[in-house]
Symmetry: C2
Subunit: 205 residues, 2 copies
């Protein structure tokens, strides 16, 4: 697999394609052209063809892509065929919203562990999960072999939580706390700070 040669920006678009393919499968669409995909996603057809070409040929020129095969192939490339356990740290409004979020289950992820430091929250039930004590973070993550963490703590707590997660074996962090995390090279971080998303758009206003 030519993993190292694929730009991260291309990897970032694969989940977008995958979600649209899921949508097309639900519409019972069997074949889709790069043109139609492009129109639906506001991405040029040429860009889509170029992105997919990093991973080999997925369709014959002019024949379009087989929706189900491309979906399976992208799922394989993104390694989301199996369900991965996710630990969520910080059960405020946002953490609770994510814990309830229905979108994870069919897309390769399951929040299996909720942690907080608030004695009033520890032991309470959210959905089918019980909030556990964040002081147990390291043994819990190790024992359950969790590699993915979602951090929804206040900013001041996030770096310490990230450090502990990484010590315990986490290799991917989705960070909602409004700070930039310092992490070793083998760990990936994605940020979802609403302010940064908004600032990126106001440039164009």
């Amino acid at each position: 697999m030519p993993a190292r040669q694929v730009p991260d920006i291309v990897i970032g678009r694969l989940p977008v394609y995958l979600r649209m393919l899921t949508h097309l499968m639900a519409e019972n669409k069997l074949v889709v052209s790069s043109k139609e995909l492009g129109q639906r996603l506001n991405i040029s057809a040429a860009q889509i063809r170029k992105d997919l070409s990093y991973f080999g040929g997925f369709g014959k020129q002019g024949a379009g892509y087989n929706v189900a095969s491309l979906h399976a192939e992208l799922s394989r490339i993104l390694k989301v065929e199996e369900i991965r356990s996710v630990v969520l740290i910080g059960v405020g409004d946002l953490g609770r919203a994510l814990a309830h979020y229905g979108g994870f289950a069919n897309e390769g992820f399951q929040v299996t562990t909720l942690l907080d430091n608030d004695p009033n929250k520890i032991g309470t039930q959210i959905g089918h999960l019980t909030v556990e004590d964040v002081r147990e973070l390291e043994p819990i993550i190790r024992e359950r072999g969790i590699q993915i963490a979602v951090i929804t703590t206040p900013a001041h707590a996030a770096q310490g939580i990230a450090d502990a997660c990484i010590r315990a074996g986490v290799r991917a962090i989705l960070n909602y706390a409004p700070i930039t995390l310092q992490v070793p090279e083998h760990v990936r971080v994605q940020y979802t700070d609403p302010v940064m998303h908004l600032q990126r758009m106001t440039y164009y206003l």
Copy 2:
């Protein structure tokens, strides 16, 4: 201003730089080198220098950047010197979390309007705001001259809401609903679907 020549990926990093500069100002740091900025942000110093060079010279070779001037300049470039009104549609757990989010005020944004379609929510107070009826969306947005919308509705409602927002004058949408929105070319959309962020990282696991 060389706006059209700056790649969007560069624009996407400016808020990251800006946040770090805010942080450095709080530390009373006067000058910062691209090397130190890079180390703090896990971005190469060369990348930072290249990104900033799109906007002219910000520092003398070897002397580092003046933290306050660079902060002011990036704020100007991103147009976040003034506070912009934001409408938030969909006051569930996530919407409430965002309405309470303290990070907006100092970064150029203020949620001024909360809308929902639930009669049990309309008229209730969240912070200092009253939830208003989403059926009034268009006149409210027009009257208040709001250009930025945050959509935290369920997926099935999001496209209709986006269409109405755009008719009323919205030009930037931060979309938390797990669907890809169809929008005209003059409208920017940013997505913050947690699933897509997670999928982007599992590729590297």
